[in-house]
């Protein structure tokens, strides 16, 4: 984010009033800026250097304001003031106009083909009859510097040259020549230099030395001549002294040379829109003609005004507010985006001025509306979608394992994923080429040459930095290493490792071995050759010969443990024996029942949005169902309501896991709020009611998911409830929709309401072996209720000659509950000791 420094008093003068610091801070915040610092030149110098240097400096108060990176129109006092005044409705945004010179002949800048090799683009313009004051002049220079540092990427993409037009005469030629052939007197020098000499002259210049590399190694350097062969500039390094501007300059010739034409145009537009304010005809800019090597000519500056149409509803929907279209248009106009209602629906036509090159999409317009509306005035809401959280299995395993390794007495460390080649190579007695390490091409220090291939060096370095700590040191880390892997799109992959070290006066192999055993125990792997784990002697340059073993799980190697080789110990600047363990933990992941996210990308895409296919269509306003007839029966009848209540007993929504149009349709089908005794339905009803304001934005459901029919003759495609809303087809679609709805409802009303039933198996236990079981069964069967049907029974021995009665029945869920049933049976307490539900199945 660039910071713009402006003098407070000048700013207030231009704004036409003064503010307290707090007031101005608040104004900045409202406008989407941040008042970063309140300071003075004196304070800045004394902070950066020292008080004595600051003695003579100005103590005029400076405001340092943070400006969004792409708002080039706010990089100077002129632009800031203009933006704020328009924002506060104190000023209408000016209209920037390109004009032809009075003479009729625009200044010409001819580009030769030689520039193609180094800096092929150029644009130009003239600020005619401008009046500079010291402040304006300073601001003009400062803006060029700000542009150079930001959009121009330190002059590499665009370089600006400004010249006193009255000292020179066109047409101008932009060409490129070998450095030895360019010779001129550069800005603020007293003699002529060749370009070659200049490059060495500026090598020590604290400011210019940063730009030399842009053209240094090119065979030709860019240069602009006037018709008399006087050098205007050698972009992007330095201007000529001859055409330099001063406070007295009245007519300014501006040229921008570039490697990117779009950016050159933006830079030129920014500079002229900001400073044409001081021309005798404010906000007019005189055109200049640029002639390309192919003979094509273009007039600059382009000062493009672009129009974008969007709906008020769109802006409201994206922000989450509910303002009238007029208000939205006013909000945008205050952000220098002149907006008018077109009169077609809630359509707004937004004009994007040449100062707002940052607006490249409707979403940028929405953002400005949100700024003008005030972020703090937006009501905070929460996304409504129901989502189930899943942990990344590898991280879940890591988290669990970390806890238990720490519980085993080891201390966790956190080391860097980058290291030197030596750390994973020489120091471990390995050749770097054999480690499979990924190499970094531009490390600033040797610490970042490669991505680590093992966790061990990090742990050993941690010990080296903690030699004063009491022994033993028991450390571990579970983290990723990186290995080259041709099977991955990027050619490398991470591997999750577990590494532990024991550092003491004796090697303590048994401790590390014990930790390995414990880890296997934690991972549920048994000490068993074959289907389990075992270790066997191995050789490795990291470990002391004869003191290294390889760990095998299910016959596959997963890592090694052993006593470190004294050479390794010494190379890491340690003095005590040390044993270590390092193993992969990914082989222990196991299978997950959940669908998991992976990094692999399908190389053949399938996609659907309106930009990519014609099929996907935005769901929009739906005609709500007004009938009370549904798959659950008529919702105006108690049976229908009971069926819906039962259906919702284990569901949050009618369809799927989020509120959809299916819910609103069902909601509309309810004639009134349901009785609270239907608790599931009531809960759902209240929940869906809360969506009423945004109901039209609820996602649609795939047609086959909506109110599913079980009729064999039903064809999904016949009932296209939520079809295309293409405007032209709207009327016809509406008619067909109504007709189909009617058909659909007629079909539905003939269908009996669904009745939920369950099959229950009861265990009825008698008091003792003398209880008359036949009598008991008779009593049980004597229980009768609406919606209860007794089924088959048998006597099952339970021991000591006692038998229990096992009896089945079918019940209608909303009429007969198991509690009711149990209560009725236990009432025969002279026979029945207890009743249990042995099985319960929904039919």
């Amino acid at each position: 984010m660039p910071t713009v420094g402006v003098k407070r008093d000048l700013l207030f003068k231009a704004l036409g009033r003064s503010y307290t610091d707090e007031e101005f801070d608040e104004l900045c915040f409202q406008f989407g800026l941040e008042l970063d610092e309140i300071t003075s030149e004196k304070e800045l110098i004394s902070k950066e250097q020292n008080d004595s240097k600051a003695a003579g400096a100005s103590d005029v108060i400076l405001y340092k304001i943070d400006v969004p990176a792409n708002r080039y129109d706010l990089l100077c006092l002129e632009g800031l003031v203009r933006g704020l005044q328009v924002f506060k409705n104190k000023l209408e945004a000016p209209r920037y106009v390109r004009v032809s010179p009075v003479s009729g002949q625009p200044q010409k800048l001819i580009i030769t083909k030689e520039t193609a090799a180094v800096r092929p683009y150029a644009v130009a313009a003239v600020l005619r009859d401008i009046t500079f004051t010291q402040e304006r002049y300073d601001s003009f220079i400062e803006l060029q510097e700000k542009l150079h540092q930001n959009i121009c990427r330190k002059r590499s993409i665009v370089a600006i040259g400004t010249h006193d037009l009255d000292t020179t005469s066109g047409p101008f030629t932009y060409t490129a020549k070998p450095p030895s052939e360019i010779c001129f007197q550069p800005l603020n020098q007293t003699k002529e230099f060749t370009a070659t000499e200049l490059m060495s002259l500026y090598r020590t210049d604290s400011h210019l030395k940063h730009y030399l590399h842009i053209i240094e190694d090119k065979p030709v350097y860019p240069v602009i001549y006037d018709s008399n062969g006087i050098v205007l500039s050698m972009p992007p390094i330095i201007n000529g002294d001859h055409t330099k501007i001063s406070l007295k300059t009245k007519n300014v010739f501006i040229e921008c040379t570039a490697t990117d034409l779009t950016k050159a145009k933006v830079v030129l537009d920014t500079l002229v829109t900001m400073f044409s304010q001081y021309c005798s005809q404010p906000f007019t800019v005189e055109e200049a003609e640029v002639v390309y090597p192919d003979g094509k000519t273009c007039l600059y500056p382009e000062l493009p005004y672009r129009k974008e149409k969007l709906s008020g509803e769109f802006v409201n929907r994206k922000i989450g507010i509910n303002e009238s279209t007029e208000t939205v248009a006013q909000l945008l106009t205050r952000m220098c985006l002149l907006s008018k209602l077109t009169g077609v629906g809630d359509q707004i036509e937004v004009e994007i001025p040449p100062t707002r090159s940052d607006i490249i999409h409707a979403c940028d317009i929405v953002e400005d509306a949100a700024i003008a509306y005030g972020f703090n005035n937006i009501t905070r809401t929460t996304p409504r979608s129901y989502t189930v959280a899943t942990q990344f299995p590898l991280n879940k395993l890591t988290e669990l394992l970390r806890q238990d390794v720490a519980a085993a007495g080891f201390t966790e460390v956190l080391t860097f994923a980058l290291c030197s080649k030596e750390d994973v190579g020489d120091k471990l007695g390995k050749k770097i080429s054999e480690t499979g390490a990924a190499h970094i091409s531009n490390p600033k220090t040797a610490e970042f040459q490669v991505a680590r291939t093992t966790l061990l060096p990090g742990l050993l370095k941690t010990i080296a930095a903690n030699k004063k700590m009491p022994l033993p040191l028991k450390l571990f880390e579970i983290s990723d290493v990186v290995l080259k892997d041709k099977s991955k799109d990027v050619g490398a992959r991470n591997s999750r490792r577990f590494c532990a070290v024991y550092y003491n006066k004796s090697p303590g192999f048994e401790v590390i071995h014990g930790l390995m055993d414990r880890t296997m125990q934690l991972l549920g792997v048994k000490p068993l050759r074959g289907e389990g784990y075992h270790i066997q002697a191995a050789e490795d340059s990291i470990f002391f010969p004869g003191r290294c073993a390889e760990i095998f799980v299910d016959g596959k190697s997963v890592g090694r443990l052993g006593v470190l080789h004294p050479n390794v110990v010494t190379r890491f600047e340690l003095t005590m024996p040390c044993s270590a363990l390092e193993m992969d933990i990914e082989p222990f992941l196991g299978q997950s029942a959940e669908a998991l996210l992976t990094l692999d990308i399908p190389m053949q895409g399938v996609f659907k949005n309106k930009y990519l296919t014609q099929e996907g269509v935005r769901p929009d306003q739906r005609a709500p169902l007004t009938s009370t007839k549904t798959v659950f029966g008529d919702l105006s009848s108690p049976a229908g309501l009971a069926a819906l209540d039962s259906y919702l007993s284990d569901k949050s929504y009618v369809e799927g896991f989020m509120a959809t149009q299916a819910d609103t349709a069902m909601f509309d089908a309810l004639p009134s709020a349901p009785c609270p005794t239907l608790c599931h339905l009531s809960r759902w009803y209240n929940h869906i009611r809360s969506f009423q304001t945004e109901r039209t934005h609820l996602p649609t459901v795939k047609k086959e998911l909506v109110l599913p029919l079980t009729d064999e003759d039903h064809d999904d495609d016949d009932i296209d409830l939520f079809g295309s809303d293409d405007e032209a087809e709207n009327e016809e679609a509406e008619r067909i929709k109504k007709q189909r709805l009617a058909e659909y409802e007629a079909k539905k009303s003939k269908k009996p309401a669904l009745v939920a039933k369950s099959s229950i198996l009861l265990d009825v236990k008698p008091w003792d072996d003398e209880t008359d079981m036949a009598e008991l069964e008779e009593r049980v069967r004597s229980v009768s209720m609406e919606g209860l049907l007794w089924g088959r029974s048998k006597l099952v021995p339970v021991g000591y000659g006692i038998r229990k009665l096992q009896i089945g029945c079918v019940v209608e869920d909303d009429k007969v509950g198991t509690d009711l049933l149990e209560e009725a049976i236990t009432a025969f307490d002279q026979y029945v000791q207890s009743v249990d539900v042995a099985a319960f199945n929904k039919i």
Binding site: I321, P383, A389, H439, L597, P602, G605
Partner: protein, 470 residues
């Protein structure tokens, strides 16, 4: 343990004494080492107010080793005198005796002997007096018998100079009866034992009081790293909020997924050599979904999808360059692209993992740090939703001024639409570093004290559990 006999004797002696007893006197009267009496005092002190003991120090004179020898055999000069026969002794013979040299000088100055240097065969020594009184020995014997008071200070210092006497400071106790003085004391138990529990003895036993001022014994235990403890809590917060964890175990990423797919232009300063680690091996990624790559190229170069685009020459070579990922958003891009290839369902994703920046290192910047990222993709999300989710998140974090520590926003359509996501789907996201809030939470000023191999393990050992919301 103190000798019980001495303890008893001490108590008996104290009972008889009118005011008190001195430990030194007691030791001499009991004929035991003073240390034994001191041990008895300490042991009695530890059982409560039986006795009270006040430490005293007294100076007294003691014979040195040489002094003891003299007190037994006589002073060197006396021994010289004794060994000279009437007929005299050759000086050279005398000097061969161990006490000869010193004894000779002293005896000469006492005028007990004389030297005849004229005799043949070397100087001869003769007695010059008949008898002598060995005062040195007498004085030393006086000191030895505790009668040092009979010596004058001058004499003592003379003997001290000759290293025959030395002055020692003796510490002793003046023992008086305590508030609960008794000659019979029950032995106090230090600890409860299994035997006491079985026998029930604990009911009758008295126990030594514990010193609650002292610290407990440091435990031999393992520890989790503070930053990882904070990471666990952040994971917890996301899981509580229903966010699914993204697989971020890919430190190496292509510029395409790290930058281009996010609609970050190729000239963006973040893509500079000074900010990003590029890889020389494996240097390039060549495997991309080609149709998607073309759409990304188009949206950068000429726009589309409702955008003006950046209007620059997009180069696939730039997108192919492998880097160490600069943010976990590269993974979010992969996840969103994959999401677009399925029937869209709303998702909430999160990740906390390492990212890398080729930065100049200072107290708050390292070349690698952990990024926390949350992403929500749903139909028609609003800015209000973004602010609502952020509010919930930072409330759980217990951070009021959350704007300071992170970034948030709505992903641009130029990023989402080329992936193939439905156009009414919005994606909101926010990110922050794990290190920054941790440093604020634990008051750490230098990041190197928190991350990397240079951390002080003591800091890890001493770290409290992580409770973010308190």
């Amino acid at each position: 343990m103190a000798d019980t006999g001495v303890v008893e004797a001490l108590l008996l002696g104290l009972e008889k004494a009118e005011d008190g007893v001195d430990s030194l006197e007691l030791s001499s009267s009991l004929g035991v080492e003073h240390q034994v009496v001191v041990g008895a005092v300490k042991s009695l002190q530890s059982v409560g107010e039986v006795i009270s003991a006040e430490q005293r120090s007294s100076k007294h004179w003691q014979l040195t080793e040489e002094g003891v020898e003299i007190s037994e055999l006589g002073s060197h000069e006396a021994r010289v005198f004794e060994c000279i026969p009437v007929e005299g002794l050759l000086q050279s013979e005398l000097m061969k005796l161990p006490f000869g040299k010193i004894g000779f000088t002293k005896a000469m100055s006492n005028k007990w002997i004389r030297v005849d240097k004229t005799s043949e065969g070397g100087p001869l020594i003769f007695r010059s007096v008949q008898t002598i009184v060995d005062q040195v020995r007498e004085k030393l014997l006086n000191v030895l018998n505790g009668k040092d008071a009979e010596l004058e200070e001058k004499e003592k210092s003379e003997l001290k100079k000759r290293r025959l006497l030395s002055e020692v400071t003796v510490k002793s106790y003046w023992i008086t009866k305590g508030s609960s003085f008794s000659t019979t004391i029950t032995k106090q138990e230090t600890e409860l034992t299994p035997e006491m529990i079985v026998s029930g003895n604990w009911k009758d036993n008295k126990f030594k009081p514990y010193n609650f001022e002292a610290m407990g014994v440091p435990l031999d235990c393992g520890h989790l790293h503070p930053l990882m403890k904070v990471r666990t809590q952040f994971r917890q917060i996301f899981l509580e909020m229903g966010f699914t964890e993204m697989p971020t175990n890919n430190f190496i990423e292509s510029s395409f997924w790290n930058f281009d797919s996010l609609f970050q232009p190729q000239q963006h300063p973040a893509r500079d050599q000074h900010d990003t680690f590029f890889l020389s091996d494996p240097a390039l990624t060549l495997d991309f979904p080609q149709d998607y790559l073309q759409r990304v190229k188009k949206v950068h170069t000429e726009g589309g999808f409702g955008s003006q685009g950046y209007k620059y020459e997009w180069k696939v070579e730039e997108a192919q360059k492998n880097i160490l990922r600069t943010h976990t958003t590269a993974v979010s891009a992969r996840m969103l692209y994959k999401l677009a290839q399925q029937k869209f369902t709303p998702v909430k994703y999160f990740s906390i993992d390492r990212v890398f920046r080729n930065e100049t290192l200072d107290a708050t910047h390292l070349a690698e740090f952990h990024q926390i990222e949350g992403v929500v993709a749903d139909y028609d999300l609003t800015l209000g939703d973004l602010m609502g989710v952020l509010h919930q998140f930072f409330t759980k974090l217990g951070l009021e001024k959350w704007v300071e520590v992170g970034n948030s926003g709505v992903f641009r359509p130029e990023m989402l639409l080329p992936m193939g996501l439905p156009e009414d789907v919005s994606v909101i996201a926010w990110g922050l570093s794990l290190e920054r809030p941790t440093m604020i939470k634990y008051g750490i000023n230098n990041i190197r004290e928190l991350v990397g191999h240079k951390v002080n393990l003591q800091m890890v050992y001493d770290g409290p559990i992580c409770r973010l919301d308190t």
